[in-house]
Structure formats: structure tokens, C-alpha cells
């Protein structure tokens, strides 16, 4: 029983980065830009979070904010590539990932930020739920965990209930029509890339500053790509993405749990499970929702005014 409680209690810690990154990706992709760069932007967030934390003497809030800003700034390189230079969005996304991998690897070594522990945030009990017997422990989490559902709620409200959200969706579904209605497609896409990337950067910083509490090169280890898969799994719907993130949180939280309880499984096979599950989920989605196509209509297509269809 205590094992179950401690497992469930650890799930949010693993689920939050997936959730935030997937939400950021949904925001970008709803405007019709195929964003494959999550892995790279998470690395940028992770490194700048640690860097800020070490340089400001341990201010975690600043670390998270700076990580968001850094990811948003780097994402403008991607915006430049896909929006202005009209480079193929797949190539741009891949180039961004490798750019960020190289950059963070280089900076992490040069600034000597590797393997330096940081403080992180103190877990806060969520009164009165934390006073409950037995399950009370589940409600002692760091503040970002509580913030995540709020961010989701805000994003869903904005996306589905406001004019801004309507315009964002219009830009993603039919940029030509949106353009004719006087919406600047490029401005919306650019802003969405910045905002979504900030969330992705926060997801990365969560992993480095709050979970592992240190920086190691390439520490995201494919979680960004799993987030990309999650978005496909969730059919670009935020709540489903949150559910998917919880599923992956369950799996990732299980790994240290099994090690702690002394179950002897081949370690590296256990490390494979998130990737194998991602593959399985992709296959499952392909089988189940073949005809249900809720992908944004203009996803992956550059918007070029003079080439109206």
C-alpha cells in the first residue's frame, strides 16, 4: 500500500514535463506549424534553468522564468526558418533540435554547469487535502504541479472560448481564409511559436531544476519526441494530452519504484519501456482513429500569400 501511494505520489513529477511540452506543441500546431523541435527547446529550457539558478544563487522562480524566455528566444530561429525563409518544416524542426543539442552541450561544458546540484522548489502541502489519512501524501507536490492544471484550463479557455483562440484555430485550419478576414497569419504563427516554446522550455526546466536538480548533456533523452507523439495521440486536444502525459508519468514513475522495491528486471529493458510504449501508442492511434482526422488543416504547410489555392 505504501508502495502504491509513493508511486502515485511520484506520477505528477514525471507527468508535468510531458503535459507542459505537449500543451506548448498543441498551441504551435493549432496555428498550422509542424513543431518537431520540442526535444531541442526542452534542452534549452533545462540548461538555461540550471544556468540561471546557479548564477542567481538558487532562485528557482527566476530560473523557470529565464528558461521560458530562453526557449522562446531560441524558437524565433525556428520561426525565422519556417515563416520567413519558408524552409520545409520537418527540416527546420530537425535542424533546430540538432542546433540546440550542440549548443546546450557546448555551453554546458564551457560554463561548467554540468553535474552541479541546485536547490529546486520545496514541496507544498495542498491543505486540506494533505491532511487526509493515507492519501494525504499525494497532495504534497511542488507548486508547478498545482500550476499545470491551471495553465491547461487557461489554455483551453483561450483556445475554445475567445476570439483570440478562434483566430488561432482559423490560422491553422485555413490560413487563406484567415488572411482574407484580415488576420495576420505570420504574426499569429510567430506569437504561437514563442508562447508554445516558452511552455516547452518550462517543461525542460522542470526536468532539470525541479526533478533531477542538475544538468547533464542530452538529459531530455527523447522526452521531447515523446511529447510530439503525445500530441498526435491526443489529436491536438489539450485535455487528452494531459491524460496521455499522466499515462507516461505512470510508466516513468514506475521505473525508480521497481528499483527501490528490489524487483530485479534487466535495467536497460526497463529504460526502453517509455519508448516502446510510445511506439505502441502510435500504432494504437493509427488503428483506432484512422478516419477521425482532427489534425489542423494546414499543418506543415507554409503560408505563402501569392500562391493562393
Amino acid at each position: 500500500m505504501t508502495m502504491l501511494i509513493s508511486w502515485v505520489g511520484n506520477i505528477p513529477d514525471f507527468a508535468v514535463p510531458f503535459a507542459l511540452a505537449a500543451l506548448g506543441l498543441i498551441l504551435i500546431e493549432r496555428t498550422g506549424v509542424l513543431a518537431l523541435g520540442a526535444e531541442g527547446l526542452m534542452l534549452v529550457g533545462a540548461l538555461s534553468g540550471i544556468g540561471a539558478s546557479l548564477m542567481t544563487g538558487g532562485s528557482t522562480v527566476w530560473a523557470l522564468i529565464i528558461a521560458m524566455i530562453a526557449a522562446a528566444v531560441v524558437s524565433q530561429l525556428f520561426a525565422l526558418m519556417v515563416l520567413v525563409m519558408r524552409i520545409n518544416q520537418v527540416i527546420s524542426g530537425l535542424a533546430l533540435v540538432f542546433f540546440c543539442q550542440g549548443l546546450t552541450g557546448l555551453l554546458g561544458t564551457l560554463m561548467n554547469w554540468t553535474n552541479k546540484p541546485v536547490q529546486g522548489l520545496q514541496a507544498q502541502p495542498l491543505w486540506p487535502l494533505s491532511e487526509l489519512p493515507l492519501v494525504g501524501k499525494l497532495f504534497v507536490q511542488n507548486p508547478v504541479v498545482y500550476l499545470t492544471p491551471v495553465i491547461f484550463l487557461l489554455a483551453v479557455l483561450v483556445l475554445n472560448r475567445t476570439v483570440l483562440g478562434l483566430r488561432v484555430r482559423a490560422v491553422g485550419e485555413n490560413p487563406q481564409a484567415a488572411d482574407a478576414a484580415g488576420i495576420s497569419v505570420l504574426a499569429y504563427r510567430c506569437a504561437a511559436i514563442a508562447a508554445g516554446s516558452a511552455l516547452i522550455g518550462l517543461a525542460g526546466a522542470y526536468i532539470s531544476v525541479l526533478s533531477t536538480k542538475m544538468w547533464v548533456a542530452d538529459m531530455i533523452g527523447g522526452r521531447g519526441w515523446i511529447a510530439v507523439a503525445l500530441v498526435i495521440f491526443a489529436r491536438w486536444a489539450p485535455w487528452k494530452a494531459l491524460a496521455g502525459a499522466l499515462l507516461f508519468g505512470c510508466i516513468e514513475a514506475l521505473i525508480p519504484q521497481m528499483a527501490a522495491s528490489g524487483i530485479r528486471l534487466p535495467q536497460y529493458f526497463v529504460f526502453m519501456t517509455p519508448y516502446a510504449v510510445t511506439l505502441g501508442v502510435m500504432i494504437w492511434v493509427a488503428i483506432v482513429s484512422r478516419d477521425n482526422n482532427s489534425q489542423p488543416g494546414a499543418l506543415g504547410e507554409p503560408f505563402i500569400r501569392e500562391e493562393r489555392r
Binding site: 526558418m81 520545409n88 535542424a95 498526435i232 526502453m272 519508448y275 510510445t278 511506439l279 500562391e307
Partner: protein
């Protein structure tokens, strides 16, 4: 009209962007060359900021690697697996398949080759061809799952190949930290290959790997230029609907081409372990996956161009390794330079396809 007017009216109003009909090939070449030079200058600036003296940089990249015969040999040696992954990238992209699983296929190729060595399968004289065959088959099989998933279930191959990379990587770690660990010391690598299991030098210090890579380039040239498959691939590249309508066996062509791509990547893995490392190590594949994509992209999927680009990337690899040794610049610098080059060259396409013209009097 250029739509950036929407948010930068002051700056852009007097300029318009037009789609160019055509640009002569030598202008295209000049634009791409300028983009490459620009990218290299940025990279050089980063390296200098990172603490490498500018004079050393010139020495490292140009003089040592191209005018010194020993270094030139090192570059050629390094180029062999890069040519293979580059060709693998060309093949997959020709079939419109984003094979980001080159590293996973390399890992399986190396595992397959090492298995032959470890379990001493076949007589010594046949050992090397057997290892290569095993690498080829293992790489091919690792590419089979994503291509079948894509063809039959439309599963996004970018994600599936990447996930398979991570699975292959963890399997490699399982082997080198586990049952395949060299019993003589506790480092995570397999026992060393015997001499007859290493790729020999053929003439004048030139490794057999280089010869194999060049032969493969010729084969890929035939496959993508002369063979019946090349014609089919051109249809596939222009759109699946038309290809199916004129009776191209799309699924078979894509399947075969991607499997060939995986097989080449597998052989590349064999080349690194049997050529450079001499054993299965835990990180022999690092950097090759992206390099394969980069080489194919820069070469526009042309096998001969890919061979040339692979030589340039090999220079970068060799120079990067020595920078790592002498200035503690991490190897990720090589990735960064490659990414910068891709961004620059891809951006240059914009200037090939568009022309910026000034408008008199600001009528927009």
C-alpha cells in the same frame, strides 16, 4: 506581395518579394557556396569565442586535414561510414521516408557484426564477409518495422524511427554493460575483434572500408539513376496518387528502398566497429544519424554529391575530435556546426526561389 508587411510596415513596405522563375545553375551554386561560407564563418566565430585561437582553427581545418597526407588518410578513413549513412539518407529521402533511425540501424549492424565475432561463427577467412552480411541483415531488419507501420498504418515514421533508436541504444547498453562486457577489464565494451576481423588496408594505407563505401556509392548511383526502381522512385517523389494511377508498385518500391537504406546504415555500423574502434563500444554511433540526414540534404539526395559532402563532414569529425582533445571543446560542437550549415544552406534556397525588389514610392 510579401506578407511580413503586416507586422513590419515601416521596414518592408518599399520592398517586395517575388517568386523567381528560374536561376541559372552557376548562380545557384554561388548562392549555396556563399551560404556555406557564411555558416562556416559563424561556426568559426563560435569556436573562437569558445577559446580556440583563430590561427589554430585554420591550421586544424585546412592545413592539417587537407595538406598532410596522414591526416588526409584519417579523413578518408573517417569518411567511409559517413558515406554509407549519407547514402542511406539519400535512399530513404528518395522514397519520401524520413529515416531518422539511421543510428538505431547502425547500432544493430554493429551488434550483428560483433555477434559473429564473439561467437566465432565461420572460418577466419570468411569471418569479415560474414560480419558484414550480418550487419547488413540486422540493419535491414531494424528498418523493417517503421516502414511497414508507415505503409500499412500510416504511423509517422519520424517518431517511430526515433523511438526505435532509443530502444536500440538501450539494448546496446544492456549488452556492453552485461553479458558482452570484455572480461579482461570492467569497461563497458565488448572484447576486442581479432586481427582478421578488422577491416584491412588495401593499398597504401587506404582502408577497405573506403573502397567498400565508394563501390556502394556507385551502386546507389545505379539504383537511383539507371535501374527500374529509379524511375518508380521519381514517380513516388512527385506524389503517391499519380504514382499509383500509372501503376507504380508504390508499396514495394518504398519498402525495398527503405530496407536498402537500413542495410547501408547497418554496414556503416560494422565499418565503425570493425574499422575504427575494433570492438563494440557504448557510444560509437554518436553523431552519425544526424550526419547522414545532413549529407543527404546538402547533396540533394544525389549519391555522388553525397560522397563529396561526406568527405567534408569527415574533415569536420576529425578536426572536431582533435579540438576535443586539445581544447576540451565537446564533440557536440560538431553537431552545432552541422546544424548551422543546414540552416544556412536551407535558407539560401529562399534567395534562389525569391527575388527582393525595391518599389518606387512605396506603393504596396
Amino acid at each position: 506581395m510579401f506578407d511580413a508587411t503586416n507586422f513590419q510596415p515601416l521596414l518592408v513596405r518599399r520592398y517586395t518579394l517575388e517568386v523567381r522563375q528560374q536561376m541559372s545553375w552557376y548562380w545557384q551554386a554561388i548562392v549555396i557556396a556563399l551560404a556555406l561560407v557564411f555558416g562556416l564563418l559563424i561556426s568559426a566565430a563560435i569556436l573562437v569565442t569558445a577559446g580556440v585561437p583563430a590561427g589554430e582553427l585554420l591550421n586544424e581545418f585546412v592545413i592539417l586535414t587537407l595538406f598532410d597526407s596522414q591526416s588526409l588518410r584519417a579523413v578518408l578513413f573517417q569518411a567511409a561510414p559517413l558515406i554509407m549513412v549519407g547514402l542511406a539518407g539519400c535512399l530513404a529521402f528518395r522514397a519520401r521516408f524520413w529515416n531518422l533511425g539511421l543510428e538505431g540501424q547502425m547500432i544493430w549492424g554493429a551488434i550483428g557484426a560483433t555477434a559473429i565475432s564473439l561467437f566465432e561463427i565461420g572460418p577466419p577467412s570468411l569471418r569479415l564477409p560474414l560480419m558484414m552480411l550480418s550487419a547488413l541483415i540486422c540493419g535491414l531488419l531494424w528498418a523493417l518495422t517503421p516502414v511497414l507501420l508507415k505503409l500499412h498504418l500510416k504511423v509517422n515514421e519520424i517518431i517511430s524511427t526515433l523511438m526505435l533508436n532509443y530502444i536500440a541504444l538501450n539494448f546496446l547498453l544492456h549488452l556492453v554493460y552485461g553479458s558482452w562486457k570484455d572480461p579482461r577489464d570492467s569497461f563497458p565494451y565488448s572484447p576486442q575483434y581479432r586481427t582478421f576481423e578488422r577491416l584491412p588496408e588495401v593499398f597504401d594505407g587506404l582502408s577497405l572500408a573506403v573502397v567498400l563505401a565508394l563501390l556502394t556509392a556507385l551502386f546507389v548511383l545505379w539504383f537511383t539513376g539507371v535501374s527500374r526502381a529509379s524511375l518508380y522512385l521519381r514517380f513516388v517523389d512527385n506524389g503517391l496518387g499519380v504514382a499509383r494511377a500509372v501503376g507504380v508498385p508504390v508499396n514495394r518500391v518504398v519498402l525495398g528502398t527503405v530496407l536498402l537504406s537500413g542495410a547501408l546504415a547497418g554496414v556503416a555500423g560494422f565499418m565503425v566497429t570493425a574499422g575504427q574502434e575494433g570492438r563494440l563500444t557504448q557510444s560509437f554511433y554518436v553523431g552519425y544519424g544526424f550526419s547522414g540526414i545532413l549529407i543527404a540534404f546538402l547533396a540533394r539526395n544525389q549519391p555522388i554529391a553525397a560522397t563529396v559532402v561526406a568527405l567534408l563532414v569527415a574533415t569536420l569529425f576529425v578536426a572536431g575530435r582533435s579540438l576535443q582533445v586539445f581544447y576540451q571543446i565537446p564533440f557536440s560542437m560538431v553537431q552545432l556546426i552541422q546544424a548551422i550549415l543546414v540552416i544556412c544552406v536551407a535558407s539560401s534556397e529562399f534567395f534562389i526561389h525569391h527575388r527582393i525588389r525595391r518599389i518606387q514610392g512605396g506603393q504596396s
